[in-house]
Symmetry: C2
Subunit: 350 residues, 2 copies
């Protein structure tokens, strides 16, 4: 998969035996068949991923991969680039949304610098910096092919380390001022949709800035002409370090039978890269929510993922993924905590 | 409000001072304004209901009001009537979906018999039986006006008792074989929509049974001709005991500044009754989810409530309400746990 590197990724299919067992049990629980809707499918998927009917959900992590973007110089964001590193401080002091929402579901937050544009980042941010921000993709590739591969490897390795110490459920998030712009570029390439239809307001730019942002994406794609059949090339030419790391995190989750919650638009762009490399990865992904960001729905459709929540979120950081962890827990509790008709002595329907 | 009775209900408006304070804080937290979507509105609503920026959310209850329905004799459900009391056993032994989902969010489940068609119900179901099931509304009113008022009073009193011992957040649910049929009848009357457009498959009936169910609702309304301006009459003529009790529970929650989570179609029919009696009640209601049941969306629109979740649920019991408690908790944690831009030293957007 990663020509010229020693990175090996092997993703097996879900455990169909356990999945069938889960389906049978779900259909015999004391409720009308199918009446718990998406939670039923979710419980069955989790059982298939973990290869157990009643998997533990104890060790949960929310990873926030952070990077900066040369293209931010084009004024594509409502916030200045320095906010990326300021937000790392905020994560460390537990004042950001992901800290609060992670805590609510017992998910430990880990922040990884893969490409923040500053010399120093606050401890204990995990330091895996590949470069101090990508280059502006209006003037050439955002990064080299080697750097793109390295970003994937970093995300992969961070997750593998967690697997070694115990990992039952993973939420993946992003931080990086300007990163909806590369995400729109990736989404346009990987779905074949026009830049205009997959470019939105990000953190909240006005009409005029949005028009400019669409132009930036169009020009970036014209200049670099990335090949959708070559996801590493797409990532290198118009992507970001944190997006590559996110793709790597998914691959590692899938390779280790860990369910991974995709967050919003940026992390879904990462999923498009991972899916391009290894389509089987999506069996292990759960779409936590549908963002208001233009293009998120299109990207999820391309992946064949249906989102659980629709709360008009557009924050990132893994916040939607953290919120959806409660639904994952609820779904497995249903499968394992409820009685069957027989166990409860209730007449089943005609 | 309740002519000829001594039941007094007084509902104040939300605390606008606290709500404004909550709005200001929400807009200064370290995230793009509005980027947490519905959770931001929810947090502000909760603050306005409780009259506190950081209300405790410790004492949570899920109430399941149970009753039977004479109209079940018309074959409107996929399940036999005996399932109502069998499910009470299941609730007591903690094998039902509401037990599992309540436990997940720390909500204590209480089951109240207001009209189950059996001599005995298992302990510790709270015994507040008004009658052993309603009459078949095809042949006249389901209950008397006095019984309708009594059902509202029971729901009201059950909640007032909880308030006395401590109640921060309430989820309301239903159990009663056949109860989507009276709910469709109530929804048709209170929204002015046709029976056909607000009658669905309930626990899962086939096409032929659905056609029959629509006819039953149409005939019931023809026979009884309830006046939408008189919600107690609507409840008496085509309602159910548990639906009346649910309406009373909302009124008590609102009168005591307790946020109440509405569950699915049946509990929303109860909300239509409560809203007809006292429109101010909706300020205190939170729509937890949008059911697949035909007519639920119409009823929520009439109440001006936007649902939080959309998971294709159609179970009842208060399951959707329990699931949404996590979002309520998440929203208040955001408001009170996150740092403002100033507190965090992060540059705010332009």
């Amino acid at each position: 998969m990663f020509e010229g590197t020693d990175l090996e990724v092997r993703i097996d299919g879900l455990n169909s035996k356990v999945r069938d067992k889960a389906t049978r049990r779900m259909n015999n629980l004391t409720k009308p068949k199918g009446s718990l809707g998406k939670l039923e499918d979710l419980a069955i998927k989790i059982a298939g991923i973990r290869g157990e009917l009643d998997p533990t959900m104890e060790d949960r992590y929310s990873l926030v991969f952070a990077g900066d973007h040369g293209v931010a110089a084009e004024g594509v964001s409502a916030y200045p680039q320095e906010v990326t590193v300021q937000m790392l401080e905020n994560f460390i002091h537990e004042g950001a949304a992901i800290n609060v929402l992670g805590k609510n579901v017992g998910s430990r937050v880990r922040v990884i610098d893969v490409g923040v544009a500053s010399e120093e980042v606050p401890r204990p941010v995990l330091e895996r910096k590949i470069s101090k921000g990508t280059k502006n993709f209006l003037r050439g590739p955002a990064m080299s092919r080697e750097e793109a591969l390295e970003s994937i490897r970093v995300g992969y390795e961070v997750v593998e380390e967690l697997v070694d110490s115990g990992l039952d459920l993973l939420g993946v998030g992003d931080m990086g001022i300007g990163n909806t712009t590369p995400s729109s570029a990736i989404t346009a390439v990987m779905t074949g949709e026009s830049p205009k239809s997959v470019t939105g307001r990000g953190t909240g730019i006005d009409e005029e800035s949005l028009r400019k942002k669409v132009e930036v994406v169009e020009k970036g794609l014209d200049t670099n002409n990335p090949d959708p059949e070559n996801p590493v090339e797409v990532l290198a030419k118009v992507g970001g370090y944190e997006i590559g790391a996110i793709a790597g995190a998914y691959l590692a989750g899938a390779a280790n039978q860990v369910p991974v919650l995709v967050d919003g638009f940026i992390t879904t762009a990462g999923a498009l890269i991972a899916h391009g490399l290894e389509p089987g990865v999506v069996d292990y992904l759960i779409a936590s929510h549908c963002s208001v960001e233009e293009g998120h729905g299109v990207a999820l459709d391309k992946l064949g993922l249906e989102p659980l929540l629709d709360l008009n979120l557009r924050l990132g950081e893994g916040t939607g993924a953290a919120l959806a962890m409660h639904l994952v827990e609820a779904s497995t509790s249903i499968l394992n905590g409820m009685y069957t008709f027989e166990e409860a002595g209730v007449s089943s329907g005609g």
